[in-house]
Symmetry: C4
Subunit: 202 residues, 4 copies
């Protein structure tokens, strides 16, 4: 089965999710710039979710770049990931509108944890198909970033009930962790290319 | 005529349908997690429709993978299928908001029946073009799943007027039937590949 | 310049336009099927616009299939067409909600006329680029369908102010005219293929 | 890393942004054509933003056409551009609904300035990757249009607080500046092709 349509469908869903979030921001009735002030936290939650979805798109891009075969398990693992990500606009809006109240802020962490786990499952399904000696297996390596991310979300969930702003800060830290682009796969691809070059094969 | 744009357009429409459903879920006014409880059935209907649309995307993917020529009949059969699927968000929202009331729950079954019939027509139009000896014809075989699905929806429609929850359970069963991925086409493609391999042709 | 992105962007815009129209249909508050009755005309206008947009997508598909070069004029003629089509959901909703009142029904005709003219301009821009001896020039021929369509819309506009249902019937007739798929290009491509075949070239 | 998915994702996001803006236009309650008059400025702001987004799509198309390698910096510069463009529907709606009031009209200029700067950064990131001798470097040249555009937006921002209609006229002028399609890259590609042709290489 070709991976082209899987990528196209995922791109479509991610593009829509990332874009409809902005539909949630209601324009103020008043025409003064000061009328934007109550929207500050709504905007902040939008920026946070835009960054998370951009990171997912970027990592998804890298992951599928080194994928060669799409099994049924990979297809469903991908749909599972898209399901949780499709709920991001709903929870983002609720967190923003409630001005980072305890409940919605906790739920945001739960959603990040579920989406992160779904991504890990997708990566696992692809690794099973690609095999231990594949470019992907070498590239993923110890995968400390994913582990730390899941730990951060798991910590933020109970903390949101005590001090929501700590949870918010942790979500922001989780973004920074990934904003440094994941060069592992790029490096591994480059290294694989070099070896091939050295061996004299085209 | 190339099948690339047919797939791209169908992917686009399906990606939008599956994503805008979540726009229908209104965020609660209250900021407590308990405010989500009234949304439970809305969420359940969302999960149900997400799964149905994911199944349609997956089956559509398999179906077009073994399609070689796109006739005018295939193009219109495909648009006919997309038309019924485009109504899924509307009926899903109504069924969820009415807490699985008789009328909306019945209508959901009618829509599944119409979409299922449209898919069957699309498959038929492709089979006519591909011919009886094609990979697709061998792969589809007796096609018992489609028949059983249509039977389930037809049964659920009158039952929804008596006991909506029975209809709801049948819709859930209809999802489970398809969640086991349709390996018929994959197997047939693999088998066709083997034969070709044995015959020594490239 | 490649035509791939032009097709992808047009497919995306058309897929979104055709899908968001259904977002306009508000679910009834009551949970009885009879609550759908006031939506009948909204649904009818949705079906009408779905068919028109499907026809545009299909014709656009055929048109670009025989296009080889994308000039700046073609790109802007295409964006001009997409602009008018993007207004279809707005006018469709207004016509449906006003139960085919004179003003909105007239506006629908104006929009069809503008979109039809934009399509004609796009075709013209492509013909200029392809030249008189091209497959497209032979395929388009006298192009009576486009002329008759524009005439129908032009007639419907004043009639909508007298008897909106006559305009509505004309819009329906305009759909039927095109539902018979445009086989001219297909035939011409087949004919061109045959000639080449006869000449002994591959 | 392939540029295919970057283009597909950008096309998806731009197609959605350009299309959902029309969702913001609320249909009038009255069924007379005169009920459209209060929408005139909303429509005008829609046309303005449609043109700006169409120009961005067109320039983005040209820019990536001559791009060969996608670095991490290019990917993030592209996401940064899409972020500001995703806010266009929100600000467009506010400017239209407030009938080009000072605050919203100024904010529109700020957004154009931020998006213009993001585009410049993207172009810069690609130039860094392509190198000084590339087709792109020759094509961009002095890039006076971008500079003039940014100057126009920077001038419009303070002017919006004095006379919003002057700022509006400047935004319209900024569109006209770009509507003349950017033939620099086309010419450069043609020139590069000619040289190659003269040299006798295929």
């Amino acid at each position: 089965m070709g991976k082209g349509r899987l990528e196209a469908f995922s791109d479509g869903v991610l593009a829509i999710i990332i874009t409809i979030m902005v539909l949630e921001m209601k324009t103020p009735r008043a025409a003064e710039l000061s009328a934007l002030r109550p929207l500050a936290l709504v905007f902040l939650s939008y920026v946070l979710s835009f960054l998370y979805l951009a990171i997912y798109w970027s990592n998804h891009h890298h992951l599928l770049y080194v994928t060669h075969r799409i099994s049924g398990a990979i297809m469903w693992a991908n749909l599972h990931l898209l399901f949780w990500l499709s709920l991001v606009p709903f929870v983002t809006r609720w967190m923003g509108e409630s001005r980072f109240a305890r409940g919605p802020t906790m739920l945001y962490g739960v959603l990040l944890l579920l989406a992160g786990t779904a991504y890990w499952l997708l990566q696992h399904a692809i690794l099973l198909e690609e095999g231990a000696g594949s470019t992907l297996a070498a590239a993923v390596g110890s995968d400390w970033k994913s582990r730390v991310s899941l730990l951060i979300y798991a910590m933020a969930i109970p903390l949101a009930l005590l001090r929501p702003w700590i949870a918010g800060a942790l979500y922001g830290f989780g973004v920074l962790l990934w904003l440094v682009p994941d060069r592992r796969i790029e490096r591994q691809v480059a290294r694989a290319g070099q070896k091939v070059g050295t061996a004299g094969e085209r």
